[in-house]
């Protein structure tokens, strides 16, 4: 949950990249680290095992100062996708303000996607949040590969859900910023009624997104 530290004059928002193993969650963060030019950008913290698989999490910190002087810290986390690490996934998810579900577009990954999404919905409930209100967007990654589900097929499957679907090729950096921008808009709308970012801190939704993405992104 959005953590407002009045004394330090700091708001920390936590976004979690969730999804099945090897769907490209870490790659999303790596590309964002390369592509984004926000006001503040921290070092990316990568904790991986020897064979490139995330064991704990990855962390990319981004920052923005509101006109009021409030420091808005955005922390992007990834979870380990492997089924066995469910307790770690649950702990990382705890307190999230928004979730990107990174799915693998390949046809043979449909079952893994479904299992992971079901696990996500379960874990959102287990950490005391409501899947109906927690900001969530889905990203179908690896659009550059052959043997993938068509956009039409995917949109067909997700029609009737409340979640927007975006397409990406994270390795080439396509779609990663759009995905984050979409989620940031939803997170702003979710936290603004409580934190009054616009009214008290002079930061509207567009400024919020643009400021965190940096440069011309999110315009």
């Amino acid at each position: 949950m959005a953590d407002l530290d009045e004394q330090a004059h700091r708001l920390t928002l936590k976004l979690v990249y969730y999804g099945p193993a090897l769907s490209g969650k870490t790659t999303n963060l790596v590309r964002l680290h390369d592509l984004l030019a926000p006001e503040l950008k921290g070092e990316m913290m990568v904790l991986e095992t020897k064979n490139d698989r995330t064991l704990f999490f990855d962390l990319l910190p981004l920052g923005l100062s509101a006109p009021s002087g409030l420091l808005i810290k955005l922390r992007l986390f990834t979870v380990p996708g492997q089924v066995a690490h469910d307790s770690t996934r649950k702990a990382v998810l705890s307190g999230a303000d928004g979730v990107v579900f990174v799915a693998d577009s390949q046809r043979n990954q449909a079952i893994n996607n479904a299992g992971s999404f079901e696990n996500l919905i379960d874990n959102i409930g287990r950490v005391g949040q409501d899947p109906a209100t927690l900001p969530l967007v889905a990203q179908f990654n690896k659009r550059d590969l052959p043997e993938i589900l068509s956009e039409q097929q995917i949109m067909e499957q997700w029609r009737g859900t409340p979640w927007p679907v975006l397409f990406a090729c994270a390795l080439q950096g396509r779609g990663v910023i759009e995905t984050l921008a979409e989620l940031l808009g939803r997170v702003y709308q979710a936290v603004d009624p409580r934190l009054a970012l616009g009214k008290d801190h002079g930061l509207d939704q567009q400024q919020f997104i643009t400021g965190l993405l940096g440069g011309s992104h999110g315009q």
């Binding site: 700091r10 936590k14 913290m45 704990f56 307790s87 770690t88 307190g95």
Partner: protein, 412 residues
């Protein structure tokens, strides 16, 4: 789970904001201080954002003050009494803090995951214990439940056997009623005649009492044909008496079938049992079949339940009667066979086909129409013979007839 809560301390969030003090917690500050002192060649201090000195010596004034950043924020300052090497030293310290942050976040997250896994195992374990307890309870009561079921089955079986007995006895009722009705009919008519004879005699006695002349008395006797009356009176009394004896005999034989369940063992003669049953069953089966008895003389008496053996024989005689569709004979033979009593019931009926033969003793197996038999007649018979330690076998030729052979041990 209560035990679990005692075992584990509440964990801080793995992604909480870490202060400089926490980031330095895993680092040997004495060696860090010595190394920095040597690098910088001047007094220095590592201070938290609130000014508290954590490493080095508290400095009131400093020539150089470099912020130490972790993630995006300043977590403290490096104060040095010289400025040339301060930025490089601060970078080194930041790298050190980054490693510390990485370690602390990962280790706390790991503890969260381990606790969660443990809690899930505990929950799973208690669910398993619960189901184990359920199975134990089930196993403990299983024996009792089986015994209850057996009691119910036994009770039902007894009820069915009772129904079978009633059905067999019921079949006899019509025949027995006729047997009894016939003598009662002629005894009744004899008594009516006897009443008129008594009034004739009374008239003669009246004449004598009034002192009538011998000629008059003789005339009355002539008119009443007293010679015939006295003669016939005698005859009808004899006839009625034998009728009453017939009824008594039927009732005696029937008593053998009454109170079968309570009947006790006694030493009895097999031929006597056979005769008793045949007397009862005679009318029922001799409508189209002749009944022949070939009973061996001098059979040893045996300890048995006569009422039960009688029922077994009755069932088989009724079956034999049903097997005969046209004219035929039923032959009942008794003999001593290698120290055992042999009772054979042979009929010249339709016989039993090879497919049906192995099943005739099965409970509820019947070739009769639904409702006309319980299918228990031969089952009950076999059970009775077995209970007496005997054997029952059947041999049948379709179209020619069937022979049931019963062998019973002789018991004192």
């Amino acid at each position: 789970m209560a035990s679990n809560a005692q075992d584990t301390l509440p964990l801080p969030a793995f992604d909480r904001a870490l202060e400089l003090r926490e980031l330095l917690a895993g680092i040997n500050t004495e060696r860090l201080a010595a190394a920095l002192r040597q690098l910088l060649g001047a007094p220095f201090a590592l201070c938290a954002v609130n000014g508290e000195c954590l490493v080095g010596e508290a400095l009131d004034t400093a020539i150089c003050r470099v912020p130490l950043r972790a993630e995006l924020e300043t977590v403290g300052y490096l104060l040095v009494q010289q400025e040339d090497d301060a930025p490089a030293a601060a970078t080194l310290i930041e790298l050190l803090l980054q490693g510390a942050a990485r370690y602390q976040m990962a280790s706390t997250l790991h503890l969260h995951a381990v606790n969660d896994d443990y809690a899930r195992l505990q929950a799973q374990h208690s669910a398993l214990l619960e189901s184990e307890a359920r199975y134990k309870e089930l196993a403990a009561t299983l024996e009792q439940r089986v015994a209850e079921q057996l009691r119910t089955i036994e009770h039902t079986r007894l009820q069915l056997y009772q129904a079978e007995k009633m059905a067999a006895v019921g079949q006899l009722a019509a025949g027995v009623a006729h047997e009894i009705n016939n003598p009662i009919g002629f005894i009744n008519s004899n008594l009516v005649t006897a009443q008129s004879y008594v009034s004739d005699l009374a008239e003669v006695v009246e004449c004598i009492a009034q002192g009538a002349a011998a000629a008059d008395i003789s005339a009355v006797m002539q008119r009443k044909d007293l010679v015939f009356v006295l003669n016939d009176f005698q005859k009808l009394l004899t006839e009625s008496s034998s009728g009453a004896q017939r009824i008594a005999a039927i009732v005696r034989n029937l008593k053998g079938f009454a109170n079968i369940d309570g009947s006790d063992e006694e030493v009895a003669d097999l031929n006597g049992i056979v005769r008793g049953v045949c007397n009862i069953v005679l009318r029922e089966i001799t409508r189209h079949a002749g009944l022949q008895l070939q009973l061996a003389d001098g059979l040893p008496a045996t300890r048995c339940r006569p009422a039960h053996l009688g029922q077994a024989l009755l069932n088989m005689l009724l079956n034999a009667g049903k097997a005969i569709t046209g004219q035929g004979t039923i032959t009942v033979t008794t003999a001593l066979d290698d120290g055992r009593l042999r009772l054979q019931i042979a009929d010249s009926g339709v016989g039993i086909s090879a497919e049906v033969l192995p099943r005739i003793f099965d409970p509820f197996f019947t070739t009769a129409d639904v409702g006309s038999g319980t299918g228990l007649g031969l089952t009950v018979s076999r059970d009775i013979i077995t209970a007496h330690g005997g054997d029952i076998t059947v041999h049948s030729t379709p179209g020619q007839g069937t022979v049931f052979t019963i062998l019973l041990p002789v018991r004192d």
